[in-house]
Symmetry: C2
Subunit: 329 residues, 2 copies
């Protein structure tokens, strides 16, 4: 009988849990409100309960479940299995999340940050299924990243590798929330894309977006994409700026870990292939001419399932490599 793996995704709003087989099929899933304020003990307790329910409801023989993967907002320590100081989870600093979950369930576990987990999901079962070297950018409020090199997730010396949103693309450029100047996140995240549109409107640039701004007192990234699709010149210019910023970091990643495929994920890709197409266009315009670079730039495929697939998949990968952490550790 095939081994099974649990995937848990801890978010600021919801916790998702899934039970998967070694082929990546989701046998069962559930979710519940995180209710951050109830504290980490309560969250860990409810995570374990939700997992137990998935096992019980599906009449799974408990010893088939060989590992639990947990994804969480960072920064965190993969080696120690603890959260460090996650912005979205106030009061969760130094929580031993892996030991807590693993101890309750009495199953070996592994912890990694949510961007890495999502990247692993796409690598294992999504867009990156057939490649060994992949990079993923998650385009949302900020820009998250993940790097797979030769089939392994890069974690760096202090478990903070692949903070790709903070690659500087313009020296002395736009101020980023992280304190740096010129981060790609300050140009190409959903928030920064909307912010650049608002700045242009404030400078009096004509655009069909102005009506929306008057109505709602603001502009969202979704608005920019909608107006671009409808042919608005300024909206297209703003999205070109987003694509150019992304293309530059794609060139930089090519010359760094040399991925075969770069996957775009996150809220921004709900608008369709436009962002991937334009990024690929500018990538080819910007990249060196020494050799042809067939790097694929494409959209993520798994949507909302990435997190639990990635978390369970990382547990499977660690199980195969005998690197799951022992029960309760």
């Amino acid at each position: 009988m095939d081994e099974l793996f649990l995937g848990i995704d801890l978010g600021g709003t919801n916790v998702e849990v899934g039970l998967l087989d070694t082929q990546g099929a989701i046998l069962a899933r559930d979710s519940f409100a995180t209710e951050v304020k109830l504290g980490p003990k309560s969250v860990i307790e409810r995570m374990a309960q939700a997992c137990e329910k998935l096992i019980a409801k599906n009449n799974i023989k408990r010893d088939r479940v060989k590992g639990v993967g947990v994804g969480s907002p960072g920064p965190l320590s993969i080696a120690k299995g603890i959260l460090i100081n996650p912005c979205n989870l106030p009061g969760y600093a130094n929580v031993a999340l892996r030991a807590g979950v693993s101890g309750k369930l009495q199953i070996p576990a592994i912890l990694n940050n949510d961007a890495n987990v999502a990247c692993w999901g796409e690598f294992w079962m999504g867009a990156g299924k057939d490649v060994k070297d992949m990079v993923m950018f998650t385009l949302g409020t900020g820009i998250g990243g993940g790097i797979i090199s030769n089939g392994e997730l890069l974690t760096g010396y202090d478990d903070n590798a692949a903070e790709l949103g903070h690659i500087i693309i313009e020296s002395g450029g736009r101020r980023c929330g992280c304190g740096q100047l010129g981060c790609v996140e300050a140009y190409a995240s959903a928030n920064a894309t909307a912010a650049r549109a608002i700045e242009a409107l404030e400078q009096g640039r004509p655009s069909s977006m102005e009506k929306v701004r008057k109505q709602n007192n603001t502009i969202t990234c979704k608005d920019v994409f909608e107006h671009a699709a409808a042919g608005d010149k300024l909206a297209n210019e703003i999205i070109d700026g987003t694509a150019q910023a992304l293309a530059q970091v794609c060139v930089n990643m090519l010359h760094t870990t040399e991925p075969e495929m770069i996957v775009l994920a996150g809220g921004m890709i709900k608008a369709g292939t436009l962002i991937a197409d334009r990024t690929a266009h500018y990538f080819q315009k910007m990249v060196w001419t020494i050799k042809k670079e067939p790097t694929k730039i494409c959209l993520a495929k798994l949507g909302g399932d990435t997190a639990i697939i990635g978390a369970a998949g990382l547990a499977l990968h660690a199980y195969k490599k005998r690197s799951l952490y022992p029960i309760g550790k």
Copy 2:
């Protein structure tokens, strides 16, 4: 009795060969003029002869030599062991260098590009001895790079990872020889540093370097460093520009593979610690404030020995992992 490994460095001018033990000690070494025009067959023949001599002269039992590491200018294929189209070795396209050397010597071998080999040398026996995650920039005519992540050299999907000189630091910036705009190589290589000094002098900026330029009709990177050390304002400004460009790619590498140590190597570091100190200074000014980053930025330690140490070391590493390529393959 300890195993031994041969390291060979193929350069455009000289070939260096060394015989090393597993502790990184160089038991014997030699070098000869490459004479590129004699063709690859001749070079491979002379490489093998030089290696045989090292073994014979030192009364080494031949079966103690377990592997040969070969470093060569890229681009090349690590998997196939062939040179692709190295600029410095005209007429050497598609040469099966690994199979040639390994076949002549009847010893399993491994091939990698010279920047990676140098990086491995510093990682194994030099500045990076005590870290698992390291990045190296070789600052010469151009800028070469190497990345070690979790104790392994990153090679990328097509063996062209770590072309770190071609990370773009300024969109639409200075033209690089590779065809891109704004590569760090176009700002911070020895050539680019000299070029920026010449441009400033041509704009009429006052400097003690002007006398040298008049005398020699040009300025070298060495001149810039000498005049900076003597207190010339413009020379210091130019070197600050070099350091700022390097600091930006150091920040970018921190957010990519997250090295614990960044090593500067190549001709430019002959001028001493100034470049590492200033790069470290600007790194701390530029890097995010979310967490303290103790990333060490320091100089390479092995000097001219890096190539043969790295090549032999890579052969040892592959031997341990049973990934040396079979004799003559």
